[in-house]
Amino acid sequence: MQISLDLITGVLSFLFTLLILSYLIGDNPLFRIAIYLFVGITAGYVASVIWWQVLTPRLFSPTIPALFAGSMIERAIIIVPWLGAVFILMKISPRLSKIASITMAFLVGAGAAVIIAGALIGTIIPQVSASINFFDPRLAAARNIDLLEVMGNGAIVLVGVVTTLSYFHFGARPQTNGNPRRFVLIEFFAFIGRIFIGITLGVIFAGVYAAALTAFIERISSLINFFGIF
């Protein structure tokens, strides 16, 4: 008799869902077994994905053609990551782990540049532009929205942005009694900012809770459906 892969998937899914849900009665060995297996399996799966989808196409496959049929530049281009990989493998040995810092420096440098560009081009400029655009009468007219309504909403958003940023301003001067205290205006803005942050986190909480509830209902539904098969 041949067991279908769908059935095996269903049985595994049912079993692991039950084991994880057992946490509702408290931390127990069944939950721990499921979690440790999950961590092991996920790490193994991720390692195989890295091997086949990152290292094989970008490192292993181009090496032989580049070394035997490529120009000097092509050889250099493929040798550098091999060298970096060897250096980073030195991290396994405590005695040689210092050599790995060369590759780590390379990764940190590249990563720092990517996050600088990402923060600037991907967040700061678009978010500031979007806040400014609230006050553009031409954009409001193009979207056929009442200018007063747009301006009012834009003012709320602007106050929210400024006061939230003020809340995260931690520059303070020492008072006569030695205790540090923020400038009075910053303190006032920070208080308003707390209200905006509370509202924002409340909306995020509601969204995450709704998503978690959906996942919970889907899992319970899958358990009921599994029994429906038999």
Binding site: T9, L24, A112, G202, V203
Partner: protein
């Protein structure tokens, strides 16, 4: 060695950064980022190897909970070997993905329902300040506004207040938090590029 690693980090960072703003540096930027992807992949494998080493050490010392560590190591090695032989797209690997990894992730997400509710109640009991009060009021308003009654949306709350709060008031706070995080990220990146912070080793 400390100066050498700092020079590498600064030089690589500057060349990658220039690639975003000047077309002449795009070629070198692509090459460096390709190398960075390869090295990040190798670093991840070293990290996974470290996970095996830590748990193997726990098993060797017969520490408390070493049975769980043994399960973890066996599951990790078996999945990796299967993945190497069969490749991740193979049917059996898809059974592992759809039968274990995704259901466990979804169930853990579902368990958040209980833990989030518990955390929200604890927040009100322990810290009833202006932020937590607005947090709870907003969350309740959003829930009420999202709920669908047999007669339809909850009047005013669902049609007027919820969209206004979530699309205007929360937008202001979210934008402030996002810009704040981005400014922090920018400064952290610049500190690395100027050699002030050296997380790769050295002072």
């Amino acid at each position: 060695m400390r100066v050498f690693t700092a020079v590498i980090a600064i030089a690589v960072g500057l060349m990658v950064l220039l690639g975003y703003f000047f077309a002449g540096f795009v070629g070198i930027q692509t090459l460096l980022l390709n190398w960075a992807i390869i090295l990040a992949g190798v670093a991840s494998l070293v990290g996974i190897f470290n996970l095996i080493a830590v748990h193997t050490d726990k098993i060797r010392r017969a520490e408390k909970g070493s049975v769980y560590s043994a399960l973890l190591v066996i599951a990790l090695v078996a999945t990796f070997v299967f993945g190497l032989i069969l490749q991740p797209q193979h049917q059996i690997m898809q059974v592992i993905l759809n039968g274990i990894i995704l259901p466990v992730e979804a169930t853990l997400m579902g368990l958040l329902t209980i833990t989030l509710l518990y955390a929200a109640i604890r927040l009100l009991r322990r810290r009833a300040d202006v932020m937590s009060i607005f947090f709870i009021i907003t969350a309740v308003l959003i829930f009420l506004g999202s709920a669908t009654l047999p007669t339809g949306d909850v009047p005013i709350v669902g049609t007027l207040i919820r969209p206004w709060v979530s699309q205007i008031w929360a937008l202001g706070g979210a934008r402030g938090i996002l810009i704040g995080v981005a400014l922090g990220t920018l400064v952290t990146g610049l500190r690395v590029l100027f050699g002030i912070d050296r997380p790769y080793g050295g002072k």
